[in-house]
């Protein structure tokens, strides 16, 4: 983030900055994290700012919240270019890129109602293999159903 951009939103003391979100996807990221704004913490959303890498990008800052691995995996599905900066005492404590895992277990629900993973009372967790990262395409390990980016975003965010 350059100086000019930092001026748009003040620094956070502790929490997470999700940078390099593809332009226009910041609200989806918040939705995926189930952040509604009613949590009472400071949240900053910056959209469509210039980026050397992406042309344009979005940024989300969340005060007082650190992300779990499962949440990082979810973000990777709709914002694969995102970087996660953990902020402690106003400084960047750690920085990592999200990466789409080879397998996604438990996060997504198979879109095939006849899939074994959608049956009540069967002890089985959904599991998908990534068959394409851009555009995102996944295949159910149990029933072979293919889900594309649009289905995945809809399911994770309802949008």
């Amino acid at each position: 983030m350059n100086e000019k951009q930092q001026l748009r939103v003040r620094k956070i003391k502790e929490g997470t900055v999700i940078d390099h979100i593809p332009a226009g996807k910041a609200l989806l990221v918040l939705k995926i994290l189930n952040i509604t704004g009613e949590e009472g913490v400071v949240i900053a959303v910056v959209m469509n700012v210039e980026s050397r890498k992406l042309g344009k990008k979005d940024i989300v800052k969340i005060e007082g919240r650190f992300l779990r691995m499962e949440e990082l995996n979810k973000i990777s599905l709709i914002a694969p270019t995102a970087t996660i900066n953990i902020i402690k005492d106003f400084k960047v404590y750690s920085k990592q890129r999200v990466s789409i895992p080879e397998k996604i277990k438990g996060i997504l629900k198979c879109s095939n109602p006849s899939c074994i993973t959608n049956q009540d009372r069967e002890p089985v967790e959904s599991s998908f293999t990534i068959i394409s990262k851009t555009p995102l395409k996944v295949k159910c390990d149990y029933c072979d159903q293919i889900m594309v980016q649009k289905d995945i975003v809809l399911q994770l965010t309802g949008i």
């Binding site: 074994i116 069967e122 089985v124 390990d141 029933c143 072979d144």
Partner: protein
Amino acid sequence: MLKGRDIISINELTVDEIKEIFKTADKMLEVLKEGGSDVLKGFVMATAFFEPSTRTRLSFQTAMVRLGGNYIDLAEISRSSLAKGENFADTIRMLDSYADVIIVRHKIEGAARFAAEIAESPVINAGDGMRHHPTQALIDLYTIRRSFGSIDDLTIGVLGDLKYGRAATSFIYGVTKFNPRKLHLISPESLRIRLEVREHLASRGIEFVEESDLEKVLPKLDVLYVTRIQKERFPDPAEYEKVKGSYKITRRVLEKAKENLIILHPLPRVEEISLDVDGTPYAKYFEQAKYGVPVRMALLKLILKG
């Protein structure tokens, strides 16, 4: 190579493994001429069919008996614990403790793969919903090999319900293991192959064409694989009514066929092939059904004993 293996989809078998199954099936035809053998004496197979079956269940059971083994059969749902509400996972655990190999058919897709995760004994998928039916595909390919000596370099047509039909789907997957000259996928618009099958064909670099006119393509074909329109899998009965009886193979339709064309059908047939075709040299579907026993004998022998 195959000892202890689960057979959930034909995609998981290599060409060499398929060829090994075929060579063993050739030997099993000889074994059958002698009335059978006792190579699987002491082994127990469980057949768990949560969907109706005639040929698949009976041919698995016959195959096991002909090799000297025994089988236990999960009774119809109304007579088993399933009627009391037992879940699938617990049923499989029970069968796993009784049997050396489990044959599963279920309308729920992915059921056989889930069973294979639960059970220590090998699991063979005898059909899961509209997705896979790998042993049927082995029988289909074996029939082609018996007729032509090879599965490569043939022009193959698959006709009928390519969307909901698991036999058609597994057959298409099976063909992609070999080098067909071209694959013609003939169906009404609403019954075209599913996305995952289309992706698979593309990834294997198979030349295929989706079309609706059987009579136009028929003269080019070496193999015509006919399937039933899967009434039970249509979400909307009105859709079924629209496409049922879309295709019917009759002697008249076959006038333009190549001399050595073979017609396959996984059976049961409804009205797709007229009865007067049965007596023609093209009709290989009864022979195909007969191969159900030696191919399944080969598979059981290789999985249980290597």
